[in-house]
Structure formats: structure tokens, C-alpha cells
Symmetry: C2
Subunit: 155 residues, 2 copies
DNA sequence: CCGATTTGTTTTAAACTTAAAGTACCTTGC
DNA sequence: GCAAGGTACTTTAAGTTTAAAACAAATCGG
């Protein structure tokens, strides 16, 4: 009676995909409506907010799962908007360090608060225990995917 | 010591997002390499394969979580490729019904088999029990999202 | 019947995505 | 020093994505 693992995998995958798609769409709509911003922008700000100081573009790319070419445009627009600042490394002029401006940090905090509240409301139906289990399982899954994904890694 | 629900939600969400992003990326790469196709195309075929007969564009959109504007282009290309066919509703000329062609069904089956195997390999690290739990939780989550999402629904 | 609204689908504009090529800078080995 | 090669980032080209506006057909109210 038990489904073979493969069929089960497919079912789980489709449900995960559906759930994340719906959630993403909500977040996207929310960011646009409230902040006239986008998810990729939010991700960049979020990655920078986690840092204690300026980091390089390459380091930022790694945190984001976004290709480096892509990042350039995002950062350009965020710099224009005054949310992040950029400065050339004096020791190596190829490198630039980006960091949140005070306004960027303020803006991000505001977005992040609402974002957290929104996400939480979307998970409201899940009990604390369910959430703990889900966190466990997704953590396991991520580890497996990460290992399977990158043949070699240094960090 | 327990994290408040909101923080927990955020953590879970980020892990889910990361996992699905990685998986999506793999599937995308695979479809492109093996079938010179894309995930959205696969999704359309998949949705049609589940149907017993022709369905309208709107119905298709609902199944897909893809914006309707997007669907037009996808369907156009799939029709060109001979994988699906399209015909105008004689009773309401705004409406069109789309359905898999025999070739489309054959092509989809082939992709689906490989797709299933790939997905399963990505979930290989999870035990049968984990998968059952994960299926449960994602099902609950989806129901909640669906209800919260649409104020009214008839089906 | 005829305008007004609703509904089904398509088009559009702007943002994002990627891979690959390009640019500028640094480093190394003579 | 200076050519050769490597590194950090940007640009490009081609394509996808989305929300929203536009369009077209049907239906409704007078």
C-alpha cells in the first residue's frame, strides 16, 4: 500500500513547489504594494543586513544564489536609491565593498518586520511542533542538496 | 528558549525557499539538456496530462500558478511544436479549449519519467517516514494557503 | 436593441535571469 | 619592468517573468 519512494518524492516536491510559489507571490505583491520594491532587492538588503560590515560583490553573490552578472544591476539600482553604498577597495581596485546605508538599514528593518509578520501569517495554520518538524526536515533536505550540488567547496 | 512562532516561520520559509530554488535549478538544467525544454512548458504539459479532456486557458492558469499573460506565450509555442492543440469554443468565441495531442502526451510521458527519477534522486537522503511527514505538513500548509488566498472559490 | 459591465484572453512594459564575452586590475615569473 | 595569466566585476544578448493595461466577446439593464 505504501507508495514507492519515487512517487512519494514527486508528490512532496509538487506540494513544496506549490506552497513556495504561492508564498513568493504573496511576498512579491506585498513588497510591491507597500514598498514599491521586489523580492530580489529584498534579498540583497537582507544579505547585507546580516553582515557586520562591507562585503565584496563576490561574497554577496555566494549568499544569494543569484548569478554575479545579475547582482550588478540590482546593486546599481539600490545604490541609486541610496539604500546601499559602494566603495572601491584601495588595495585592489577591482574589488568593491558594499554596505547598507543608515537609510538602507532603516528601510530594510521596516520591510523585514512586515515581511516576517506576513510570512508568519502564512504559516499560522501550523503548530509549533509542526514548525519544528518542518524545520528539521527542510534542514536535512538542504544539506543533502548542498552536498550533492557542489563537488568541491572551500569556505 | 523556544523561538517565537514568527521567527520560526521565517527560518522554515527560508529553508523551504532555498531547497525549492536548488531543486528547480536542477530540474531546469535537466530539461534543457535532455529535452531542450523548460520547466513552465513541462508544467503546462503536466497539467494537461492530468485532464481527461480539453480545458480552457483560465482553468489551466488556475492549475499552474502561472500568470495568465505568461500562459499565452507558452501555449503558442507548444501548439507550434505540435504538442498541444487548441480550438475556439463555438458557444463563446472568447474561450478556447486546449488539449494534449497524442504526440504531446507521448513527449510528456517521456519527460515525466526522467523528471520523476531526478526528483527522487534529490530526495534520496530522506527516509520513507520523513517523506510521509513532509507530505503531511506540506499538504496542511497548502490547504491553509489556498484558503487564505482565495476569498471565494467554486469547484 | 444599445450602452455599461463583466469575463476570457492577449499584449505590453519593466524588471529579472543566465551564460558568455568583455574590461580593468592585480600578480607572477622572468 | 613587462608580458602572461588570473581575478573581480560589468556588459551584453537572449529570453523569462510579472502585473497591469488593453482588447474582444458576451451578458445585463433599461
Amino acid at each position: 500500500m505504501a507508495a514507492p519512494h519515487a512517487k512519494q518524492s514527486l508528490r512532496v516536491w509538487l506540494r513544496m513547489l506549490r506552497a513556495t510559489t504561492i508564498i513568493e507571490k504573496r511576498i512579491r505583491g506585498y513588497l510591491k504594494a507597500e514598498f514599491d520594491s521586489t523580492l530580489p532587492r529584498f534579498d540583497v538588503l537582507s544579505a547585507l543586513d546580516r553582515e557586520t560590515g562591507p562585503i565584496t560583490m563576490s561574497a554577496l553573490t555566494d549568499h544569494l544564489l543569484v548569478s554575479n552578472g545579475n547582482l550588478t544591476g540590482l546593486v546599481n539600482r539600490l545604490v541609486e536609491d541610496g539604500l546601499i553604498s559602494r566603495e572601491i577597495d584601495p588595495e585592489d581596485r577591482r574589488v568593491q565593498h558594499v554596505v547598507l546605508t543608515p537609510e538602507g538599514r532603516r528601510a530594510f528593518r521596516e520591510m523585514a518586520d512586515k515581511h516576517e509578520a506576513l510570512v508568519d501569517s502564512l504559516f499560522a495554520a501550523m503548530s509549533d511542533e509542526d514548525m519544528a518538524t518542518l524545520l528539521d526536515l527542510t534542514t536535512t533536505l538542504n544539506s543533502a542538496l548542498q552536498n550533492g550540488a557542489r563537488p568541491a567547496e572551500d569556505a
